[in-house]
Amino acid sequence: MKLLLVPFILVAGLIAGCKNSYEAITAPPPGLIASLDAQSQSIRLSRGVSIAFACTDEHGDPCAGGSSTQKASTALIFPANLDALTEWGYMHGPQPQTVFVVVGIAEGNTEVRAGGDSLSVTVLP
């Protein structure tokens, strides 16, 4: 089964431009906004709100852990430690997940880098 998945994932990765995949793992607090659009790699946050998301590379393995923000006055990004393994890993087996937390600091737009790719961040009032 794993051997059959290999070409499928590689082709899917090529079609998608070999980008990382990002998946939100936390919900917004009541009345506020925290969402991640995986297709457009964009995050929308209310000021003072945070979102956590998992990052996997084009092979479905956890991303590398590096992170940075273009404008720390607009949004911050931190690596997070999650007490869980990936559900599967076709080459390396279950691995510790790569998770990041983005924090909305002030209204505006910026970009963060997480695991090698960029995500746009919009912080709402």
Partner: protein, 212 residues
């Protein structure tokens, strides 16, 4: 303290962090399980402070050294294990590894300005009996533990307000509890007393009758 903390955490009580790994509770005396299981069930009052207890639920790991970081110190200030409400708003309280910028969990916290001050009564072991709604009647030698509670729009706010208690007679003596910061009122002799309480620019009072 450890037993109480473990009990609260093992029951999945307290307020669970967004990542489900930390359980937070506030201002809880060690024997006050009711307080511990309540968690952070309300906005923090502007001007009030709350000590935050954190229990982490990591499989196969004890709780590592952690620290708090606030996304907006003007709204939610952090000083060690204590948070303080600055101005009204919302902020993220991040729980991070002590010497790294790695997030263990986080919690969204609201801060609200109080519009009412009330008095709550407690047992000597820290259990809250509820809001004081009428004057108190005591016998000489009896005592009553009181604390100022702040409300906004009918909702009770979190945090310990810096309250000032004053009595207008020597019928009672007011003592400050060292661990909780609450006030213990001790009836000394028969008579009447009025207790005035101020906190956060708000005030209330309690009439006390000490029976012979």
């Amino acid at each position: 303290m450890l037993a109480a903390t473990v009990t609260a955490a093992s029951c999945g009580e307290g307020s669970e962090g967004a990542l489900g790994q930390a359980h937070l509770s506030s201002d809880c005396p060690s024997e006050d399980l009711t307080c511990m299981v309540q968690g952070l069930d309300g906005p923090l009052a502007v001007g009030a402070s709350a000590r935050i207890a954190v229990v982490l639920a990591y499989q196969g790991a004890a709780t590592p050294p952690t620290r708090f970081v606030s996304s907006h110190p003007d709204i939610l200030a952090v000083d060690g294990d204590t948070v303080r409400g600055g101005v009204g708003g919302n902020a993220t309280l991040l729980i991070m590894l002590n010497d790294e910028d790695t997030v263990i969990d986080f919690m969204h916290v609201w801060v609200a300005a109080p519009d009412r001050l009330a008095l709550s009564a407690f047992t000597t072991d820290g259990r809250e009996l509820g809001e004081v709604v009428t004057g108190a009647q005591l016998l000489p030698g009896e005592d009553l533990v009181l604390d100022a509670s702040l409300y906004a729009g009918g909702q009770k706010l979190l945090g310990h307000a810096e309250a000032t208690f004053t009595a207008d007679s020597d019928v009672v003596t007011l003592l400050r509890e060292p661990t909780s910061g609450r006030t213990r009122l001790v009836a000394r002799k028969a008579g009447q007393a009025s207790i005035a309480v101020t906190a956060d620019g708000l005030s209330t009072s309690l009439s006390v009758e000490v029976k012979p």
